[in-house]
Symmetry: C2
Subunit: 426 residues, 2 copies
């Protein structure tokens, strides 16, 4: 495999074009294709229109080696993908008895009988191989034509993704178009902007310009750096890992981890290794901080719980924040942040606690909207940190949660390094 | 304006194709275009490649009246949009002194001086009108050619959206291509699947087939129905609203609201009108339920707070759930759900409380993973409800929160109707 095979995607459905649905299929497929050495060269969102899809498919097949379509395989008259592709290829369609049997069985299990419309889903393009759909009624199709491949996938995420992973990808690997796994490394950083990360790392990547694909992506308080060998043999994993280690050193405390674990998961993992527990208390972020921890599978081993206390009396009743402290310093203050953290640690019998109090906006108080204090309680002591972010309510909340997680990650890192030094001294 | 003007979009940037970024620009632009009577006919995600963009732009201009591009206006060599479009149009580029002045002022405010790379952003296509960018460094461009329009917009969301809303849309309205506002109505439903909603409403829409565009969209526990007149004069708003009222009757309790308010906002609004307050308690959804309420601006007037209690002792300490109840029935039980709700109402001095307890998975307990109980405490009494959903941890949590919100919305609706009947009896 010398140059990566070119892939184009047709994402089919009006709902993608009129502001109703985000095209998350493209994000999934794009990521998978790159990881397996294929080159996602173009995607098009097209309406449910036979002529438009037919023309676009024919044009895409002139440019690309592999054409993947998603959507438009349902039972209604809007679902025109099979017709359009058959016409683009100049092929007929046939009714597949095996697909009909599977469809009837699926309906029978729910006590239903398929109607004529449903049986439209049994139409297969002449010469196509059926890709069975264990998660839905519409089968996929695999078509080879003049050394090119068309993979026809259903629209629902829970049907499309397993069909791609279990049926399309293995066929592409057998064809020699996709690699089992291209040497790939992701570096997660926090606390720096995308351009700062790039300025730090680009000199490291320079000598590998023709062997390495580098992509930076800023999202949700982290900047990820994705490194992929351009081909399987271009940069063996061992060498790629050495490049990664150099990045780690250059990034210092901004290096969070290799991989794509959320910062919350890194924190939980570290606490779990030390047998420690965690609680949170939050006002303006109203549950988002707790949700970030609890979305991690297995979090209940470490995360004891949280308190969302919007009102001052809740801070006092549930967390024991003294009423006089609230009166003297206000609820949005470093004093209150620390008292909330300590209160949460006590109420939820936890070793560590993280707290957030602030004004998410649009209204402020003793501080302007966008002011957020982070409180941190640990066996080594308590800390508070202030951030300010101008932005929407949603952005301030998001930024507050990310800043709190990064604050705790860095504190734990220092602590772990301190422990390591202690060990070395012994 | 007889037929809607056709719009194509080019979404530019490698990051959209390799699984790094979702194309939320398309969702925003698609929604805005439809609401203003324009027809989003195609979107393409293209890599940062001058030739590919040039060709695709030239082809799009043959099909569409309006071409909108997003992204690729930055200072680096990856940012090739302006070059590519100039070539597609066979036009030159000029350096714009006004843009440079604005750029230098923007940098000076941060104590910086722009480098040669940054000055690339001052290149304007011959004959283009500059669209100033108050939120960033790259200006947009407005180009008219042979009765067609090209609108060139920057990539960052916070720059693209205001530029479209404040500069592009008003120009399109002045041209007579866009309407100030097309008669538009959104109906929000809960508790039914997309096909059930469609089966209920399609007969109502039938007589308006050529005057009304109908789109169904299922997301986050709701199914939205969007109704838009095909043209401003095709279906006046008064008539559209009468169609909406017929939908409301047909949907019964599945009708949540007209508009796009989240269910949590509907609940908060109703409680606020009655001067009531709310608290939540949750285990497996770990903060997500609280976050849904607190993301609504002004929620602090109604929402007193919440408790995330993963562990049994937290349920007992913070919410007063009796240890013997937990022992007898288990934490995932209707008894515990109700005790959590009542405990939250008491601890947070609230009139209403909503609770969730369950096994999000991958592990279960006395019940299989995916089992979730909802508890509800109100001045009229307490209720519990059980749901079961097979799916990922994330899906179970999401489903649990949506079911709890819908449960409370329906209970409040009954209560309000009951009150209304009481009034009528007086």
């Amino acid at each position: 495999m010398l140059t990566p095979k070119k892939v184009e995607i047709l994402s089919l459905g009006d709902e993608l074009l009129v502001g109703i649905r985000l095209n998350s299929h493209l994000t999934y497929l794009g990521g998978e294709l790159v990881r397996h050495g294929l080159d996602p060269a173009r995607d098009q969102e097209l309406p449910d229109d036979t002529d438009i899809i037919r023309t676009a498919a024919a044009e895409a097949l002139q440019r690309a080696d592999l054409l993947i379509t998603t959507g438009g395989l349902g039972p209604t008259s809007d679902d025109v993908t099979v017709d359009a592709l058959a016409r683009a290829l100049g092929r007929g369609m046939r009714h597949d008895a095996g697909v009909e049997t599977a469809l009837r069985e699926r309906y029978a299990r729910r006590g239903l009988t398929p109607t004529g419309n449903n049986l439209r889903q049994c139409r297969i393009i002449e010469g196509a191989e059926v890709l069975p759909n264990p998660n839905g009624t519409a089968p996929g199709q695999w078509i080879e034509e003049d050394g090119k491949v068309i993979a026809v996938l259903p629209g629902p995420t829970g049907e499309m993704r397993p069909m791609f992973a279990d049926q399309v990808l293995p066929r592409l690997i057998r064809l020699g178009w996709a690699s089992e796994r291209i040497p790939f490394l992701q570096i997660r950083t926090t606390g720096l902007g995308e351009s700062q990360v790039a300025a730090t790392l680009d000199p490291i990547f320079e000598p590998f310009a023709d062997r390495l694909r580098v992509a930076y992506c800023a999202h949700e308080g982290v900047v990820d750096v994705r490194l992929a060998a351009v081909r399987e043999e271009a940069l063996p994993l061992g060498e790629l890992n050495r490049v990664g280690e150099r990045c780690r050193s250059a990034l210092g405390s901004a290096f969070a981890a290799f991989g794509d674990q959320p910062v919350a998961a890194l924190i939980l993992g570290q606490l779990r290794r030390h047998g420690k527990t965690l609680a949170v208390a939050e006002s303006c972020t109203g549950g988002l901080l707790a949700a970030r921890f609890t979305e991690i599978a297995g979090s209940s081993k470490v995360f004891n719980g949280g308190v969302v206390c919007y009102r001052n009396d809740a801070k006092t009743n549930l967390l024991g924040v003294p009423a006089c402290l609230l009166e003297q310093h206000g609820a949005v203050s470093p004093e209150c942040a620390v008292a909330m953290a300590t209160g949460a640690a006590e109420a939820l019998e936890s070793d560590y606690a993280l707290s957030i109090t602030g004004f998410a906006g649009p209204e402020g108080g003793n501080e302007p909207p966008g002011t957020v204090y982070i409180g941190y309680h640990s066996p080594l002591g308590v800390w508070a940190s202030k951030i300010h972010h101008r932005g929407t309510r949603e952005a301030v909340r998001e930024r507050g949660v990310n800043a709190a997680l990064d604050f705790m990650r860095r504190k734990l890192r220092k602590y772990e390094m301190h422990e390591l030094l202690e060990c070395l001294r012994c």
